[in-house]
Symmetry: none
Subunit: 402 residues, 2 copies
Amino acid sequence: MDILELIRDLETKNDSKIVMLVADGLGGLPMKPGGPTELEAAHTPNLDALAKRGTSGSSIPIKPGISPGSGPGHLGLFGYDPIKYLIGRGALEATGIGFKLEDNDVAIRCNFCTLDADGKITDRRAGRIPTEESAPLAEKLRAVSIPGVEVFVEPVKEHRFVVVFRAEGLGDNVADTDPQKTGVAPLDPKAHDDAASQKTAEVARQFVAGAQELLADQPKANGLTMRGFSKKPNIPSYEEVYGLRAAAIAVYPMYKGLAQLVGMDIVGEPSTLDEEIDVLESAWNDYDFFFVHFKYTDSRGEDGDFDAKVKATEDFDKIIPRVEKLNPTVLVVTGDHSTPAKLASHSWHPVPTLLAADCCRTDPCERFSEIECLRGALGQFEAVYIMSLAMAHAGRLEKFGA
Amino acid sequence: MDILELIRDLETKNDSKIVMLVADGLGGLPMKPGGPTELEAAHTPNLDALAKRGTSGSSIPIKPGISPGSGPGHLGLFGYDPIKYLIGRGALEATGIGFKLEDNDVAIRCNFCTLDADGKITDRRAGRIPTEESAPLAEKLRAVSIPGVEVFVEPVKEHRFVVVFRAEGLGDNVADTDPQKTGVAPLDPKAHDDAASQKTAEVARQFVAGAQELLADQPKANGLTMRGFSKKPNIPSYEEVYGLRAAAIAVYPMYKGLAQLVGMDIVGEPSTLDEEIDVLESAWNDYDFFFVHFKYTDSRGEDGDFDAKVKATEDFDKIIPRVEKLNPTVLVVTGDHSTPAKLASHSWHPVPTLLAADCCRTDPCERFSEIECLRGALGQFEAVYIMSLAMAHAGRLEKFGA
């Protein structure tokens, strides 16, 4: 019995409110030995005050040493074992652009590529064709018709687009058609096993044939490859597990999509952090749980720009008083993983995490930082337990056993 | 999916070097309340400097409260769940004397015993017959011939020796023949289940009959008992899991054997710690990973000699600069378990562990000791994660999920 099943058995309802503020890629590293991390360098009076009255710790996104992508990183925060609940690449890409997958769908990440006269790939990314050229091409492929199958084609960016096949009985155990090198033709879609996947492979074959015809005149994007065939993952919803009416407030489609996969409602269409808090305020009475996603701590970390990540962290700090004013029963501040500017990538390092609630254990933490969190009462723990802790502090979990 | 499978999926190659220095039985206890542990009493300027620039923590060898033998202790350090990957007693004994087990082998720990005229045991250890008497006797048993089976007999120490049967289709589910008491005859070898184990039991029966004939004239060692029938454990290799070319540098056969079971190459024939570092230096360009084993912290702990363990710890500290001079990407210092002189035995206490790398989280640790490790950024964690952490800090793990 994993923690989700335990929670499902124990959850009870009350009128508490839980807010989870996720500063993407929050944790960091010093640029040189003895220096501060981004969070330590930032002036964060509001987070520091929250750490003082709350309880802090370091959350391990997946397992020690494992750096998560956004998918597993967020599933962990939402309380789903990210090793057990895997999201296929195609499903994640579709989710990332806001496509709402249904149970019968198979989603595929596609690349435009350049083929020579013999049908061999000369450029796997079609010369990184710009989005303004590739998007209309992707839309053009919607004209490919396959009997008995609904076909969706959605542009993503540059050479990338998503295809979704919708029909009964489609499997997703189909190999990538991208040969991962030039000088050879794209591979034929090939099912690894069952009849359902055979059917998908046949549909994919027809799609490729139809698409290639429509693209024949294109100078760069006259072919395509398909990768990451996958269905919507089978994840129990927030309502089922936690009994929570959950709202997701995010700017970027990826995070809205991930929240949608666990059954959260996507509320508002904010485009800044301030607007996200506007949405939080206006939706306050309609939900029990709010996931608020802040992107720029991660983006600036990925850029390798220490100072800009410090600035993003300070911007994040500034909205804390508006959240506190709503008086949430439980306020969690965390990240889905670390993104140290030093590494310019997601990393495995534990994430500073705090939880403030009337009934939380206090600890000696005077501010919110990697080093202070080492003294925190939450200790070092797997991110998958943040939700059980939040539920407990909200009085939403019954006693286990008599 | 356990951490090994995850790593196998995510491992990637680069030219980093990982060194794991294992001071066997490193962790200790104060001799009386308020006193220092062995590590705290030792003068360890090099380890202290390493703890200052690295990240520290306390590793739990198996699970809280469980004291490991050398087998599970090292398997954990090597990243293999020591509860899942069990090494049978016979296989461990054979491994411990440097016998290289093959896939078809069944290894058995044997004891010489004394039998009376009725074939009943009067001494289960043959009067603790000295090795110089027992070793030639064990070698004499090599004359026992069993059709279709290759038989190996290797002396160990005093009344102990190892027998290995090599043939197709031998099972290892055979009960011990040692009745664990005197006044009764050794038990007949009995298979618990399948035909393969039946075959082994029959081979064992023939071996005992032949051996007894050869020992009939012996005053003390005129019989034998067999225990721990076991095959080579089925463990995926370091190459398979981590993609590492791994070298083991050790003085004692047990640790060479354990390293060999996970597919490490045994390099050099050092007989002191200094010679081990000579080997490390000369093998530096040929491997990605180096396991270096230091025995005497454990031996002196087992002796119950606090001061001698302090001295052994200081000897260990002295070689650190030579290792650092090689500039490993990741340097791990740990132990397979604690061996407090106060207990004169292996113990369950967490083991001081440090990891130094350019991209490690810093922490407030000023020196390397049990108490300082409590403030370390690695926290308290299971030893099985040392390898995933080392791989991450070496840049040898891809991101998990997108």
